[in-house]
Amino acid sequence: MMKDKKNIDDIFRNASIAYSAATPSNAWEKIDAALKTKRRRRLIFWISFSSFSLFLILFSIFIFSDFDYQIKSLMPNNSKVQLIEKQKYNSRKAVDSSTTTLQNFEKPSSENSLTISKINQNSNPISKAKKLSKKLEIPSEPNYNVSKNKNQSELQEPTSISSKSIQNNNIIESHRLKLNIENAEINSKVLVSPAELVKADILLSKIEDSIISTTKIDDNLQPNSALSRDSIAKTNKLKDRFIPEFVISSNIAFGFTSKISQAPKLTEFTSTSTTNEKYGKVPVFGLNIGIYFTKNLSLSLGIQHFNLITNGEFQIPQNNVRYVNVDNFGYTTAGIYSVQNIETLYNTRSYNPVDYLSKLSKITQSISMIEIPISLGYHWNLNNWKFNATTGFSFGKIVDNQIKIGDEKSWLLNGKLKSIKTSISGINFGGEVFFARKKGLNLGIKSDLIMYLNSVSMSSDFSHKPFIFYIGPQLNYWF
């Protein structure tokens, strides 16, 4: 018995080893078509991926380079504040030290008195300061030397700081200091104190240094100096340009779609049924979040729901009713099913395929799809209206897929299709128009054209790449 079993195995093994059968004539054509489709999909994927990557890179470069420039342009403002604070601190220090000198001073010399009179003769504070500085270079008395040296050392820091100072506000500060000097001069007549002179000298030196250094920096930075009027205007413009605006939009719309036929391929080997679908209706509901990050550019991310409803006519050739190839419906690749299996697969209530032979039957298909659009926009204002042109990528997911063939009394097919291909992607081109109110609610109009790069159909026999166009009102909330 065992030997018989082994013999059976051997017989069939030997038969199978040598066995070959002639392949159907169209087998290679089918494989070749599938390979071409795969190549095309791969190409589309890489083009989409490359485009999206390029878009991200360019976008990143744009954003980061501009923000870097913005930070640089704002840098002097920060240093300005620090410098003014430091100047004030040093001025106070200088005054304190001159007070110390005053305490050490016992009797004013004739030279100092002469200096005071010279100051009083000269009304220009800068020239006074220059003269005072020259005077201070030649010491006359030990006490004065001490105070002068001390004050010179005090002067070093403000001088070095003021050489870095580059802001126009320094000039205002200088004027304020000039007034202080003038007051000091008036007071000096009364006090006749060299300490007062030292104090005045310090202040005038500060003014001089500040003005000189400001002039120097201005020269260095021109013509793009942040201090010049142009550059300040430019900075302000940049600031204005980079204030991002956020908007949340919701839209309802109505549009149409191309043919999306997924009609079953009723077949006996190679023959197919015929389907004639018309353009479909597309009610749309969408929610969008946008950021207007420059004066003209915007980026938006959204979520939209499409219901693609197509109607048409369906015909089964009279001589080809034996099999239904459910591959067209996707999900199962079990291959050829007999017509009877439709009932269990598609919840058919009642049908008689013979009734459908060579007759035109109604076919209705409804695809429910969630889509995520990512778009870059260019917008401009015109007479209180804002226009925004957008383009980007759309990624769709089919969440429901219903098909009906026949009429209500006798459906040939009536049920939900499970698709193999539930994800599709495409390119969108859109436009928005709305009243250019900056904040709060406003109304607009939105339209979009989405061209899908792959087909929603299950079979290469129905390889339509659908497009969707819609237009409708949009409610925007600007933050």
Binding site: D4, K5, N7, I8, D9, I11, F12, R13, A15, S16, A18, Y19, S20, A21, A22, T23, P24, A27, W28, K30, I31, D32, A34, L35, K38, R39, F269, Y323, T332, T333, A334, G335, I336
Partner: protein, 175 residues
């Protein structure tokens, strides 16, 4: 042959066509005795070659034909598991010996023997092919088909019985 494989690895259309030309008949034969009809075998051939062209970059073995054959068997197994999941394999209970049509010829050719395998119930056919033709053990077959080892053994025994009876009816001396 190496040029063709290298071409297929580079996704060259001419190489893919050449490869199909070389092996299609042999592989279609394999597909036939893993299915019960020509249409399913065509589908298997289609899917198998697509998978081969997709995965040929991973091929590094010496025996190319054996590698191809393994891919076809794997696809047949996947289809079997899917059908089993969809409860489409229910013909075992209703199967009787009389279900096998008599072969008219007294002198059996390979075609006729393959036709006998094709007529076996799906699960019997899978077990018989994997054990008798491919040389797998029962434990391996049980893992591959998602059945018990005992079921594999009984399926094989039943398949042999059916084939033996059919051969005896045809009075074929298979010694």
């Amino acid at each position: 042959m190496e040029d063709i494989i290298a071409g297929c690895k580079k996704k060259k259309a001419w190489a893919q066509a050449e490869l199909f030309e070389m092996f299609s008949d042999k592989m279609f034969g394999t597909c036939l005795y893993y299915t019960d009809n020509k249409e399913d075998a065509e589908d298997l051939l289609h899917d198998g070659f697509l998978k081969i062209f997709d995965n040929i970059g991973n091929y590094s073995q010496d025996k190319f034909e054996a590698w191809m054959r393994k891919i076809f068997i794997n696809i047949a197994l996947m289809r079997f598991r899917r059908m089993k999941l969809a409860k489409e394999i229910d013909e075992i209970n209703s199967f009787t010996l009389s279900s096998i049509p008599f072969v008219e010829n007294t002198e059996m050719q390979a075609n006729d023997l393959i036709a006998l395998i094709m007529k076996l119930p799906t699960q019997y056919r899978m077990v018989f092919n994997l054990y008798a033709i491919e040389g797998y053990k029962h434990r391996e077959i049980a893992d591959m088909l998602g059945i018990n080892e005992g079921t594999s053994k009984s399926n094989l025994s039943r398949a042999r019985q059916i084939l033996q009876s059919q051969l005896l009816v045809q009075e074929i001396d298979f010694k």
